[in-house]
Symmetry: C3
Subunit: 277 residues, 3 copies
């Protein structure tokens, strides 16, 4: 059931009594055309504009802007804010700004000061770290994790279970400045190290590991451990032996926190998936 804004305000008033610390409904502005699901909590000073839909049990913290209008708004008097759809159980932390015109799946999590511009599609169970910046016209699959300060340029795309670490960046302009944007693409399970740069249009295969500070200028086949500027394939990740740790890659058999195979193991989950499809 979708609540109207009046119901929502009433709920927040009740909550104010129960929870003195946050979600006081102070200086909150919610457009009458926004649709908030059941049990959505909204922090102080947050603004939710026209056409925003937020799924049940979501939490929007303080000082956030949801449905930030596109550039046309400032010049076009007939401007209509395109919808921003956010799934259930979102947790969007304070000072984040998400534009109108994007779609975000269930179980989304955003750190502080995240920026997501228009025409971005984000799958389910994704998380974006503090200060991450998605420039719009981009696509993230399911279970992707961008840590702090990751920059995703327009026309970039990630498949599922791609993790990118602080200050890594996907670029899109082969001959700057131009308007011929060619974002790169990263296949599933790949890990992109801190400060790594993916140059425009580069395709990185599944299950790669990109070293810190690398500049990736050419396509990398699946299972590449690559590093350097320009990045070179050092070895197959499956041959990489960590001191006293065995072979840590692929990583899915040794890490499951928040993953769909949590508690059952990656192989069992894959078999489940295969059986269901």
């Amino acid at each position: 059931m979708k609540l109207k804004i009046d119901d929502c305000d009433e709920r927040m008033l009740e909550r104010e009594v129960r929870v003195s610390m946050k979600f006081n409904g102070r200086n909150v502005h919610i457009s009458p055309s926004a649709k908030l699901g059941s049990n959505v909590r909204v922090g102080d000073n947050t603004v939710i504009y026209d056409g925003v839909e937020i799924g049940d049990d979501s939490i929007i913290c303080n000082d956030a802007v949801l449905g930030e209008p596109l550039n046309d708004y400032y010049h076009d008097t007939a401007y209509q804010n395109p919808p921003l759809i956010i799934g259930a159980r979102a947790l969007i932390r304070s000072h984040s700004i998400i534009y109108a015109g994007s779609t975000i799946g269930n179980d989304f999590s955003a750190g502080h000061r995240v920026t997501i511009r228009e025409n971005t599609t984000i799958g389910e169970h994704c998380s974006l770290g503090t200060l991450s910046d998605i420039e719009g016209y981009a696509r993230l699959g399911n279970y992707c994790r961008l840590h702090s300060n990751v920059h995703i340029s327009q026309t970039s795309s990630l498949d599922d279970f791609v993790f990118m670490y602080p200050f890594s960046v996907m670029t899109n302009d082969p001959y700057p400045p131009s308007s011929d944007f060619r974002g790169g693409h990263i296949d599933s399970y790949t890990q992109v190290g801190v400060h790594a740069v993916i140059l425009p249009g580069v395709h990185i295969g599944e299950n790669c590991l990109i070293g810190a500070g690398s500049v990736v200028s050419k396509a990398l086949p699946a299972f590449s451990l690559a590093k350097g500027d320009p990045a070179r394939v050092v070895m197959d990740v499956r041959k990489y032996v960590a001191m006293g740790k065995g072979k840590p890659y692929p990583w899915m058999n040794r890490f499951d926190r928040g993953m769909p195979w949590e508690g059952i193991g990656f192989d069992a989950w894959r078999r489940q998936q295969a059986a269901e499809s």
Copy 2:
């Protein structure tokens, strides 16, 4: 004609009726000594302090701080906020902070969470991307573009049409820590790639292209295509042939979006400029 604050508030009240989505005048604080031009719109929760002047037809979005006081304010009871002058048609997006004591030309555009400190001079038609950070005591010419997360240290300067890409940085301290700041200088038309570092006091000539992730430690002559750590001149940019694209540099004949030669071509514009001067 400069409006007084009372007129401005009245206009915003009218606007509130017409435009339900933004510019509601909610929780806006404008100093009585600020001078807002005609048709200036101010977003919710924004604060404009003493001595700020904003040109006609400008838009200041939500949660911004203009005229942020300098450090002395916190300790000196006789402190007076120095003026912040912003030209006409500015578009300053939400969560940006611009200090008192700077001058910004017409047609300025700022993304979200931009920081500009005092004693900064910015020419006309400049744009600063989300999270860009100008530390003050810096100079940008006309038509400069800093993309997201560019860091400009004190005493740095850029001529006209210089574009810098995400996470690039101009440094200023040759022997950290010191107070002997020597910012670098970049001549017109030069493009600085993502994650590039310009070391203190370095002078980069006109029309250079600095590769992603470079560390530029020495002066570069005009038309250098340079990359690496330390950056070396790979070739003259005019000799660079892009696959299937011909010679993309200098870039002014193939890119004109927002440039003064838009629609007429760079050479014709240069002839016009020469004839006028």
Copy 3:
């Protein structure tokens, strides 16, 4: 003497008359359980949650969040906000977010949009630049300075007088993704250049100088001048001769701004310290 919130509000009202520019008490929310010292000023739109203690003569600027609740708050109805202790004379600039559950010493200074998460211990006289991001479970000694956009991962630690420059980062995950965090450690007086990456678990000795853009993958002995990817020791910093400057390292005899040896010299201060201990 600790003031109760009611006294504090009264003081802010008086102040509103005296100082028209800032600290108007507009839209400020302070938890009744917060304890503000004498002469603490709080900027507009700032929120201070349960369990925050702020020392005398501190300044908290606009749009800040102090005592940001931990993740458990969103899921645990019995959640109690752990204390956030901030010492005397803090200056926390606008848009900064500091979580509950940390301790910060006297004379702390934060730029804009700083993020500090829980279980962080910061010594006295530290300063954090605009956009710096401490992920929690970290430790900074005394007189540390993080410039803009420095990223400190969980379980990292710095001793005293460590300075880190923009976009430098301490990482903590040797085999990403894992939950086996091993932050690095930096000994006193070391300087970490812009865009430098300290890889997980690396121990950097006293008085090192890490070049811009370096990737430090192995322990460095004291007095190393190291640079490159991977970083190699180029020379002993004590042998480094700067053009026309003599030998700039160690730096403590030529730089004293804000240091405890300001005006008396490093060696005299060291003798004082030795005599006192």
